[in-house]
């Protein structure tokens, strides 16, 4: 009987420790190898007999920032990795035609594809999108159906300086509750066909939970990282509809008091 206390004590400790293991899921989630499923959007052959295949990360293309990939092969199927590739998106609205901002593809040997970005500024409801791909001076063209994004992730505006700019959210793979890296891209419309990156902005970020009209603390306004990209930190304290208010200035002059972008998660 005297051992009962000891037995209880051991039992209690082992019970607690068993429970501990059971309750304690491994806090570090192992990073699974990223398997990317590319959707083939089309294949065409240029006048130079180069076979161009166009890929995206999703089967549906939506307005905003879209990573776009191509492969270039010769007629015998051997990959060409040193081509000069240029994206030439075109929106045909009947009365007028215009292009949109792009980041031209660069060959990425890890994924064996040329990787670039096309920003679709409007959906196909407004006209007909085609994406021209110019490989070593010779173009092929793909029809693209662009759906409207559920939230405002790209915005075109006329600044107080009279110039037209495009501001685009560079979406992360997922939004999380808590601190998130926020990346935006700003391009200037210099002609209907030319949208160079603009590196001259400063931004002030103020997120807002639209449904409740409150903000969040500890945000870091995006600053230039190069090529029209600006990076900051946004604090999303809960899931839901967030509006990222952005006050944009150039050389100390406010160009737009509220070029907001919306996210939803």
């Amino acid at each position: 009987m005297k051992n009962i206390f000891l037995a209880m004590f051991i039992a209690s400790i082992s019970l607690v420790s068993c429970k501990k293991e059971e309750l304690n899921p491994n806090p570090t989630v192992p990073i699974a190898p990223v398997i990317v499923n590319y959707t083939t959007l089309g294949t065409d052959t240029t006048a130079n007999n180069e076979i161009v295949t166009l890929y995206s990360l999703t089967s549906e293309i939506k307005t905003g920032y879209n990573k776009t990939f191509i492969t270039v092969k010769d007629l015998s199927g051997i990959a060409i990795t040193n081509a000069t590739v240029v994206f030439e998106p075109l929106m045909d609205m009947g009365m007028m035609q215009h292009a949109s901002p792009v980041e031209n593809p660069i060959y990425n040997s890890d994924i064996e594809k040329y990787e670039g970005v096309v920003i679709y500024t409007m959906s196909s409801l407004s006209g007909v999108w085609t994406l021209g791909v110019n490989v070593n001076g010779s173009s092929v063209s793909f029809g693209i159906t662009v759906l409207e994004s559920p939230t405002q992730v790209v915005r075109s505006f006329t600044g107080t300086d009279g110039e037209i700019y495009i501001i685009t959210l560079v979406p992360p793979s997922t939004w999380n509750v808590g601190m998130n890296e926020l990346e935006i891209m700003i391009n200037k419309k210099t002609s209907m066909m030319s949208f160079p990156a603009d590196n001259d902005f400063t931004a002030v970020l103020t997120p807002e939970m639209v449904s409740m009209a409150h903000g969040s603390p500890n945000n870091i306004s995006p600053v230039l990282v190069g090529n029209g990209h600006y990076k900051g930190t946004v604090n999303l304290t809960m899931t839901g509809d967030w509006r990222l208010h952005l006050e944009l200035s150039k050389a100390g002059v406010i160009i737009n008091t509220d070029a907001y972008l919306d996210i939803l998660f």
Binding site: K19, P27, N176, G178, M179, M209, S211, M212, P217
Partner: protein, 598 residues
């Protein structure tokens, strides 16, 4: 606090009942609710006191305890105005933590007088402490099944009615007692409608409904060893909180424990007690019963709290003048609280308000009680404790990045020491004084809480994982006088806090709760002081008449001279009770002064 609240309650209690105090010292009190006399190993006689009243009512009549009232149910007990983070609440030595982020569910709401044997109050570190706290705590002792009782079957049923809330209560208990073992079950059902205040004004949303069942199994293994298995379940539902904008749809607690007791008076270690336990609390707030115009946005706010733990301790007789008491305790508490808000348009919003926080504690308490002659005794003791606080889920850690980017896991070593001196001056008078140094870890809410709304000051609170340990020097000085007719006890006390944990306004933070005034973050204030006095009087001028008066006053301020929250000012409870055959007539008045120091 409103102006002067004078509440007069006349209750006719069937069977005489008064609180007996047992095993009480100057800093430690035990308030008996149902008496269990132990003669050798033979147990007998359970008194039948007024088990109809709420635990809150019982608590409110203990000197030093003040209840923070948010409704007609589950009031939060505080001791001398210290807050729940500075106190420990245990049930039979088991640590339990409420799951509600609005503190709607103190431990006392999950127990009923029907399943309690007694309530122990500690006014600071004492021999009975089971965790490191600066302000002592409450321990609710459960009623156990008693083997070898006089009757094989014994039981009790009762029903009650309260006019001011049209409340009904039905309770019952049954015990089956054999020579070597016994099983008892008890249950109570309560249902109350809206409470009517003194001027016949109906207090809307003060209704509640609950049932509470308990089961206890006791087995005598031999003359010295006893095994206890206890289960307690409390299910409350549709609980209104008129002081808040939300009610509680359910508050459920399940509490189970297995314990062992060893008693042999001739042994050097004459008493050992050990227990393993598990409890789970599931709680959900509800705004669907409120008029739509008062609910700007529907929200679901569920929370859970789970604790597993053990303790083991004993009492050692060094000589008939010296007794050593020791206890090792360990527990692990997991808290989860979340909020989903449903805007009229747009997507629902989800957030963690307690981001899956866990606390693990292991500690050792040792105390030594020495008797010098027959008039002087001295208690010296202390406790060491290791505390680990952490966030257990990825979502929780992501949530925490909103206000803290360091490692959320924190460990802490705590200690406390106390010395208490008592001297009898003659046969009727006792003088006592003591000092204690105590440390406490910030609570999980204070460390990791995420926009926890405090309706008293209208602020959302952000936790602070960088909080330092709060410490306190606590002193008490008092005198008791007792004769057959008189029982007087007067005490003054003070607490000098260092790194006192309180909220500080974050001026440019935007408030999350609709209608809130601002955001506060928990910080360590350099210092704070709390002092006060308690005076109790019992007078039995004739055999059946008892006049009682309990008075307390306290004052507290921080280093800037600002008031600390929830400090009760002057409070006086006065009662006259008279035993008339089987009926006890009691007239009671509670006076609370307005707190002007805010």
């Amino acid at each position: 606090m409103d102006n002067q609240n004078i509440l007069i309650v006349i209750s006719f209690l069937f069977s005489g009942f008064s609180f007996a105090q047992e095993d009480s010292t100057s800093q430690k009190k035990e308030i008996l609710i149902q008496e269990v006399r132990i003669i050798g190993v033979k147990f007998n006689e359970i008194k039948t006191p007024d088990l109809q009243q709420q635990t809150d009512k019982v608590l409110s009549e203990i000197s030093g305890v003040t209840l923070i009232k948010r409704g007609n149910y589950a009031q939060e007990p505080t001791i001398r105005g210290l807050n729940s983070g500075q106190l420990s609440s245990t049930l039979d030595g088991m640590h339990i933590f409420g799951a509600c982020t609005d503190r709607m569910d103190p431990i006392s709401s999950y127990v009923e007088p029907n399943n309690l044997n007694s309530i122990q109050l500690n006014l600071g570190p004492t021999e009975e402490q089971s965790t490191n706290q600066v302000g002592g705590g409450l321990n609710f002792k459960l009623l156990k099944a008693i083997p070898n009782a006089e009757k094989l079957f014994s039981g009790r049923i009762g029903a009650g009615f309260e006019t001011n809330a049209l409340a009904i209560q039905s309770l019952g208990s049954l015990q089956y007692s054999r020579k070597k073992w016994a099983l008892s079950v008890n249950g109570i059902f309560r249902k109350a409608n809206n409470y009517y205040a003194g001027n016949r004004e109906q207090i809307l949303f003060s209704q509640y409904e609950k049932y509470n069942v308990g089961g206890s199994f006791t087995a005598l293994l031999d003359s010295f060893n006893i095994i206890h298995v206890d289960y307690l379940q409390d299910n409350g539902k549709d609980i209104g909180y008129p002081a808040l904008t939300m009610d509680v749809s359910f508050a459920n607690a399940k509490i189970i424990s297995i314990g062992h007791e060893y008693k042999k008076d001739s042994n050097r270690i004459y008493k050992m007690e050990s227990k393993v336990y598990l409890n789970f609390i599931d709680h959900a707030m509800d705004d669907t019963k409120r008029p739509p115009e008062t609910v700007p946005m529907h929200m679901d706010m569920p929370g859970t709290s789970r604790t597993v733990g053990f303790y083991s301790g004993g009492k050692l007789r060094v000589s008939h003048k010296q007794f050593i008491q020791f206890k090792i305790t360990g527990f692990q508490n997991d808290l989860h609280a979340e909020m989903t808000m449903y805007p009229p348009i747009g997507k629902e919003m989800f957030m963690l308000t307690i981001p899956d926080a866990r606390r693990s504690v292991i500690g050792l308490s040792v105390s030594d009680k020495l008797y010098f002659g027959s008039n002087i005794n001295l208690s010296i003791g202390g406790r060491f404790e290791f505390v680990k606080s952490e966030i257990t889920t990825l979502l929780g850690r992501q949530t925490l990045t909103s206000f803290y980017n360091g490692n959320p896991t924190k460990t802490n070593l705590l200690y406390n020491i106390f010395i208490q001196f008592e001297e009898k001056l003659g046969k009727k008078t006792m003088l006592y004084f003591g000092i204690a140094k105590a440390l406490r870890n910030p609570t999980l809410q204070e460390m990791y809480g995420f926009y926890l709304y405090n309706r008293v000051d209208g602020h959302d609170y952000l936790g602070n994982p960088m909080l330092k340990t709060e410490s306190s020097w606590n002193g008490n000085l008092g005198m008791k006088y007792k004769t057959s007719k008189w029982n007087l006890n007067g005490q003054i006390y003070s607490y000098f806090f260092k790194d006192y944990i309180a909220g500080r306004v974050l001026a440019d933070y935007s408030v999350m709760t609709i209608g809130g005034k601002g955001v506060k973050e928990y910080v360590n204030l350099p210092s704070a002081i709390l002092y006060g006095s308690e005076f109790t009087l019992e007078w039995k001028p004739i055999h059946k008449l008892l006049i009682q008066s309990m008075n307390s006053v306290s004052y507290a301020k921080d280093n800037d001279g600002d008031a600390l929250p929830f400090i009760p000012p002057f409070k006086s409870i006065n009662a006259i009770s008279y035993d008339l055959k089987e009926t006890n007539i009691k007239l009671e008045s509670i006076i609370g002064a307005q707190q002007k120091h805010v």
